[in-house]
């Protein structure tokens, strides 16, 4: 692989950029791999990358039914943060944050990670109590977080209407939070993994698992059988379908989650502002579009489109909080399917089938965890034992009762 650098840019400009090397190969699947990763999104590609880089397992295939990064990796609102309440969550999201901070250098690919700061607004006494509890818990885990007064919020976002229907009473700020370019994360991991020998196989749908004596032996796909000593399923939106193929059920239900972007405008908002209680999530992309996260529908669906009422319920609070945006046009709106657990924490786990591992259930907020999730999942697959950071996220917690209840802690704010 040719490294990207200022020199390669100059060298290629001489040829009018006609000779850039392909970022990754499109190989034919081999008969067997040491590890097959099902799902070529950010988490799956990151898993393959860390398997090759840190675990010394390079005979790896990533199997994707569509194109890489075409699922929820390309559909999220690109927000990165690690300000969670519970220790287990702090463990994995902060692990991810530390990897984010060096990711562009590590991958030799600019993922445009921007630690522009992330505000979480409080609009009621209960919100203030929630951020008070969570902010102090975050401090105890050694993660940055600051309490802001309404005046300080106004200073950061001068055009915000703090005296709106549900007045802004305070905020929690994570300065290290921000955004990253989601496509670049998938492409960067794909390119780096490919360079280490990982086969990325697109347009190849898994249709079943081959198992002998409760041990997985490989996957049946639309391009034939692919053998595997171990299989890691890292899918969003279809994990229950894959689990059913393997003969077990998951504590998960799938819902549509929507987002929308506006027409591009000049820079106006230089941080991420989240409001869980009135449900307005907004940031501005480097292209200038306002990126707005909407809520999820309340009924199960795999349709990848949500109800219009959800858009209305999202745009209303945005306009109330930022009257300046009231006449902006929204350019695009889309939906993705999110796999939600009852405690709003993911599943990173062994399964009832030996050598079959699942990393799923990231619900409405998996993008931020991409590097950390891939990293601990790779180590777990390689060792056959769950990484200490991943261990609390076992499927068994729904039988033992050891839930990691971020749902109650932060409600919809994910």
């Amino acid at each position: 692989m040719n490294r990207y650098s200022i020199f390669s840019l100059i060298r290629n400009s001489v040829n009018y950029h006609q000779d850039w090397q392909r970022a990754w190969r499109s190989p034919e699947p081999k008969k067997e791999y040491d590890v097959v990763i099902v799902g070529g999104g950010g988490h799956g590609l990151a898993t393959a990358y860390y398997l090759a880089k840190e675990c010394g397992i390079t005979n790896v295939a990533v199997i994707e039914k569509g194109w890489i990064g075409g699922g929820n990796t390309g559909r999220n609102t690109t927000i990165v943060r690690s300000n969670y309440l519970w220790d287990e969550s702090a463990g994995i999201y902060e692990h991810a944050m530390k990897l984010w901070e060096n990711l562009s250098t590590d991958l030799n690919y600019n993922v445009m990670f921007s630690q522009r700061g992330l505000l979480h607004l409080a609009h009621s006494v209960h919100d203030m109590q929630e951020i008070g509890r969570r902010g102090n818990a975050i401090h105890l885990n050694g993660i940055d977080s600051e309490f802001l007064s309404p005046a300080q919020v106004k200073e950061m976002v001068p055009f915000i209407n703090i005296n709106c229907r549900y007045p802004v009473m305070g905020a929690l700020l994570q300065k290290r939070g921000g955004t990253a370019r989601h496509d670049a994360v998938a492409w960067g991991y794909a390119r780096a993994a490919d360079a280490l020998g990982v086969d990325i196989i697109q347009n190849c749908e898994v249709t079943g698992f081959r198992m002998e004596n409760n041990v997985v032996k490989g996957v049946e796909t639309s391009r034939g059988f692919i053998g595997a000593k171990k299989v890691g399923c890292v899918v969003a939106g279809n994990c229950s379908v894959l689990a059913e193929m393997a003969g077990f059920r998951l504590p998960i239900e799938s819902f549509p989650l929507q987002a929308l972007v506006s027409e591009p405008i000049k820079p106006i908002l230089d941080c991420v502002v989240m409001s869980g209680s009135i449900h307005a999530y907004i940031s501005q992309s480097d292209k200038g579009e306002l990126v707005i996260g909407a809520g999820s529908d309340t009924y199960n669906s795999y349709s990848q489109r949500g109800g219009f009422n959800v858009i209305e319920e999202t745009v209303g609070p945005v306009v109330e909080l930022y009257p300046i945006f009231s006449r902006m046009k929204m350019l695009r709106q889309w939906g993705g399917i999110v796999d939600v657990t009852v405690d709003r924490s993911p599943l990173i786990s062994k399964t009832p089938v030996d050598n079959l591992f699942f990393n799923c259930g990231w619900g409405t907020g998996g993008f931020k965890a991409t590097p950390g999730s891939g990293n601990v999942f790779a180590h777990s697959i390689a060792r056959g034992e769950m990484h200490p950071i991943a261990e609390p996220f076992s499927i068994n917690r729904f039988n033992s009762g050891a839930l990691i209840d971020e749902g109650a802690a932060a409600a919809v704010a994910h």
Binding site: R249, P251, Y299
Partner: protein
């Protein structure tokens, strides 16, 4: 957005209703004998079907009564509604994910 037929009020906009997940999950009667495994499976594990899904809805902003809906979770096509206590209808020709995609 869905148009849902309440068995008592007729067809109404989805915003009048709320959905409460998979239907026909019977609460175990021998609760004192249940293991953690069985309790967990009853409380948290769901079929999360891709295809015909039987689910519970409430007409919150109407008659406030509960009922069940048979809907395809892949296409969001609704086959019909039925009252609590009635057996789930058998969907003869489900528009399966394969047929739709």
């Amino acid at each position: 957005m869905l148009v849902i037929e309440c068995p008592w009020c007729g067809k109404r906009d989805q915003t009048e209703f709320s959905c409460h997940g998979e239907a026909h999950i019977a609460r175990p009667l021998n609760t004192e004998e249940l293991s953690e495994e069985e309790w967990g499976n009853y409380v948290f594990f769901r079929s999360n079907t891709k295809g015909v899904h039987y689910e519970r809805w409430v007409h919150d902003h109407g008659c406030r009564r509960w009922f069940n809906v048979a809907r395809n979770t892949h296409s969001d096509h609704i086959y019909g509604s039925y009252k609590p206590g009635e057996a789930a209808p058998t969907i003869d020709a489900p528009d399966t994910p394969e047929a739709k995609s």
